[in-house]
Symmetry: D2
């Protein structure tokens, strides 16, 4: 994943560990395991209203950092799995793929050789490696003034009121919104909505059921012109990254799906001048991206997560032995709503994509500065 | 775009031509310009209810085909632009970016050197090159039994009733659905809905306005296990490809956005056996993809297109000269609803992604057949 | 080929044309077909001591340039084939692969569907597309002070004396060396050696034979630190690019093959300070590259080209019909020594690789400038 | 590195560990740490005539293997560093880059943030990760009948006589050659030459000097048609991979550099039929590759390694403090000839490249089989 900033992840839910290798990290960025652990802490299992699985999720930096700074060499990170219980998988899932999970497709793809314990490499557990890598990406992007903020916009029936105010207000409030959000058990900064969501979730858990959810993402301070059309568009790369998060079924930018029912006179942003004199599309139907390129305005996306497929109610499935239809009831340990802990993952994925495009874009900029400054002579002399 | 099957496109709306280079095409596939022209005909401008721009859109195969068969060498295709009128762009757009278009972002990205005539490389015109390449991809995928079908599911307020029946029924009806669809001026196979959409569009045009639309895509007959997680998921690669089509703002698979509001007991597919004895998730909330891999069931996606941004009503924009706010009214020639002609483009993009993943997947399969057949001896002998 | 600057080429020797698509070209670079034609002129067939095939080799820029400047969009270029005669190929090569050519392997790879006329896509003819793209790459690299110079170091028995003086001297002499070289029918700046080479070549042609040759390449003014280890090393990427030129059998940097027989005390460069106070390895056994990264000193490489395989003397081959051994005598039109016209191709390939690495490297640099300038505050503020 | 089979490596010479992540490994390949350790044992330091550094080099498989078989998920491997002594580097190299090493260029690339201890990521130590990954690649390629054999062809003045006999003979002798080679302290199967090389090396060590060497590689049983021209040629990808091994300065295939001085009548292989009736170029000037594609004959390459740059004789270098010229004498621990332990690394690199191209090539083959078998109907039915 990525071109200038390239990420590989590895590991399985019930293997010894999970990890990430990040290539193309510029040298000289201060980085400590503590910073990464802080981010990991946000998605760590074992908090209230999440899976009972207890994981410390402490990262070990294997390479790419020396004396507290990145060296520019591949940055490898490792997170050990500690609290593993495969009994349910070895007894049940081995023969009966869990409906709604990758058990079926993973087995077909790997011709029966997949590690099905806890979903193996398809487990949400892998997102810890993404969050770890995202921490580095956030520092690269942050240095250029880019900020990321995701929160739970809806959980089943409960919804968080959309933010009001301008992008400028959002940047002002960012720190406070984050604090509110992190206090919430469901990553929603609105105290009231947070309580409703919590209630809905507890209700669902009581019934042995689970809930879907909607995560909203803001990317603020992105310089205009990021993206590499025709195919490496900024929205396309973001969407592709989000679909790599387990449970995602839909993605929309700005006005999103609703725009299909609108008229051009309603749905088209006007171009106005920001206080700083930069042209900005407003009110933001475009979601901050036009022609696959960032506009300089806030990028707003919403990602729909399906409810956890494993529930404590009976579901129909098949049994590989004899290939016959049968029933099963959810076992193993899991979150009642994957959307909740996906919030920090969405931020991390967004940071990885934006940092990658920032690095690609910077080369054109410097190339341009050089030309401005040396262009005239450069024209004169024989370049060959 | 792509890994085993790689596509590059080039050209500008008002340049001499547009084109595509497709690398990784297997040798021995019969291919004629006529086949490609047939597909191009579907999206060709100048049909009723589309832009008045008249383009013949006849492809010239420059390389990669000999004696009527692909050779395995890069396949280059060229489509000349014939009916070009840049007056509006040179007089107006040069200084005033059109709201809702890439004029603004393209200029910022290219530091003022972009070709803004007709949107340059950001024009929907480029999708003709994608349709041409998609024709080849459809033949590769078609050979393995994969079929693609897209149609206009909604246009502004008008909607086409969702299809009923099973995937098997769809495959049976495919030929007929296509014929109905191609008769429709708005690419909708339902005669009644087609008429409503047409009315809505004429209405909008009367008011100098435009309409957004929703394209639904089916991919039938995809073998299970296609996709390369963690990052090259099948849904992720499809989504990225669709965002490369101008005007796309949202993408959903299966139940899509709505799944965020559902409970696990409603939203999870059960696993049952197909008549052929293959395990299939049903009723299809997953949209035919689980864990980023095809399930073997029908892949269903919906892509939301914004209304054409250029309308004949006044819009606010800025003027680069003096960087001041101003007004403009749409000029140039354009479709009143980009979703309509996007239908064949969605099919082409889907074919390019699926053919790419098919080719990647085939190598694992053959690798596996070899092993099954030679495995035992292979184990015995010293491999090094 | 390439990461930040990506090249695709297409076409066949006896097809309608050949072409190139170059992606990632920064915007704002002045570019005209004339500049490209000037470079093409150097390798154009039909000059003395080369193939009698007459080709005008005039480039048509299809996209990516507007008002005389690159736009940043994909840059497509086309060169038409005019003087095509396929008789020999259709009568002979169709059944009898030419020894030493790709006829055999191309047919096996493409399962019999390859275009064998003139070698199809394996023809040296394709190098015209590389030279065209290289012209753009030279402008990108030239702007940053990088200069490329290749010449014929040896042709069969005849050899050009190695250059003397320092890298500084070479840069001074570059213009003059180029003029001398371009006057020579064999691209050698040394008048005497040039005459010997010419004699050797005429001699070989008299006997219906051909000659191998050695091309030496200098890359001057490369900033230190270019290259992306572990795998995208600068020498590795250069070597890979050179092996894409037909007829290359060996590549060496600096002291090259001979270093295998030396002792460390002889073969290791010392580090000294250049007049400008930059540390430079000298005398240059390393060839200007250490650890896959440029040292800042001159990069010196030598590329060995085999003799043209097609000669007017009988050779043994096989006949596909009945798969039996047989004989053939060279036909078609060809150069008596491919090394001669490879000289401008080597320069173009080197420019494409260096420009690509320059663009990748610039992003790290600017990233670093930003940090230096904003680093302190950046440290203070919360990056997340 | 790689397209269908992708390798990332990480780690530093004096960091906690080194590792590799291999993506695209087909599922169902039996793999145990022991197999990998056997290969690692060959290049393990601490054997006679190599660095005194003692490393156990035992691999830990972190992911991608379940129940003894590969799963198709990313395969991560870790090798801990145990015997680390950085004193010389922290006291000397920190300020004085070692001549002939990447200390200089690494520092310039990373703007001073590189880990210089033991050469950091530029150390030959990293090749252990490549050998580990190569073990898997050898199993993939081995299954298809491809065999790899490398040996020390020359060490300073001493040379091993070239092999005689045909490719068939070589395959017969392979097992025995390997045993002889592995007994030799310098990886040369010829007992006499081995003794000479050993003497030369001991001599050099006595004088505090080091020796360069030449490694010869054979790849046997490669099916014809492997490679992806125009740019991903088989020789190009092999060359690029070899240049990623520290100390490589030149690479040649078949007749190599010498071919530049030859005539076509001497240097061109004839095509004859093998005993099995396959057309084979002979005697093998082409080195088993034509047009960037494998011929089906043995692939023969020679790789030139420079002498270890660190010697116990004084060398000139610069001191970063005050940027002044100074002297230094080699410290740290190192091999007296890097070519010796490079032998297994060359085999591993070759296996990684060939396995990657095998996987890419298999998809075309199966694609073709399908067409042969279903082609007729496929032609008939409407593919769209």
């Amino acid at each position: 994943m990525g071109s200038a900033l390239r990420l590989s992840i590895f590991g399985e839910s019930h293997g010894c560990c999970i990890g990430a290798v990040l290539e193309g990290v510029p040298p000289g960025i201060p980085l400590s395991p503590e910073e990464i652990n802080r981010e990991l802490e946000l998605r760590r299992p074992g908090r209230r209203l999440t899976t009972p699985r207890r994981e410390e999720d402490r990262v070990e930096i294997l390479s790419g950092v020396y004396m507290g700074y990145t060296t520019g060499a591949p940055l490898a990170m490792l997170i050990r799995n500690r609290d593993v219980d495969s009994s349910f998988y070895e007894q049940v899932v081995r023969h009966r793929p869990r409906p709604g999970h990758a058990d079926l497709t993973a087995r077909l793809r790997s011709m029966g050789f997949n590690d099905y314990r806890g979903g193996g490499p398809f487990s949400g557990r892998l997102t810890a490696a993404i969050v770890a890598a995202g921490t580095v990406a956030k520092k690269i992007a942050g240095l250029h003034g880019v900020r990321f903020y995701a929160y739970l916009r809806a959980l089943g029936p409960a919804e968080c009121p959309p933010p009001n105010g301008s992008a400028e207000d959002w940047i002002q409030q960012l720190q406070q919104l984050r604090e509110e959000r992190n206090k919430s058990t469901v990553f929603c900064h609105d105290a009231e909505a947070s309580k409703e969501m919590e209630q809905a979730l507890i209700e669902a858990m009581k019934n042995g059921d689970s809930l879907g959810g909607l995560v909203e993402l803001w990317i603020l301070g992105v310089p205009p012109g990021l993206g590499e059309p025709p195919f490496d568009t900024l929205d396309g790369d973001l969407a592709k990254a989000f679909f790599a998060i387990p449970g995602v079924k839909a993605i929309e930018f700005g006005t999103g799906m609703a725009i299909a029912r609108m008229r051009g006179s309603e749905a088209t942003d006007n171009l106005v001048l920001s206080p700083e004199g930069a042209p900005i599309p407003t009110p933001g139907h475009s979601g901050g991206i036009l022609g696959g390129l960032s506009t300089g305005g806030p990028i707003v996306a919403r990602i729909a997560f399906k409810p956890t497929s494993t529930i404590r109610l009976p579901q129909r499935t098949i049994d590989w032995r004899g290939l016959e239809e049968t029933e099963m009831t959810g076992g193993g340990r899991h979150d009642p709503a994957i959307a909740v802990r996906a919030v920090p993952v969405v931020e991390a994925m967004a940071a990885l994509v934006v940092a990658d495009h920032l690095l690609r874009w910077l080369s054109w900029r410097l190339e341009h500065y050089h030309r401005l400054e040396r262009g005239l002579e450069a024209e004169k002399e024989n370049w060959f």
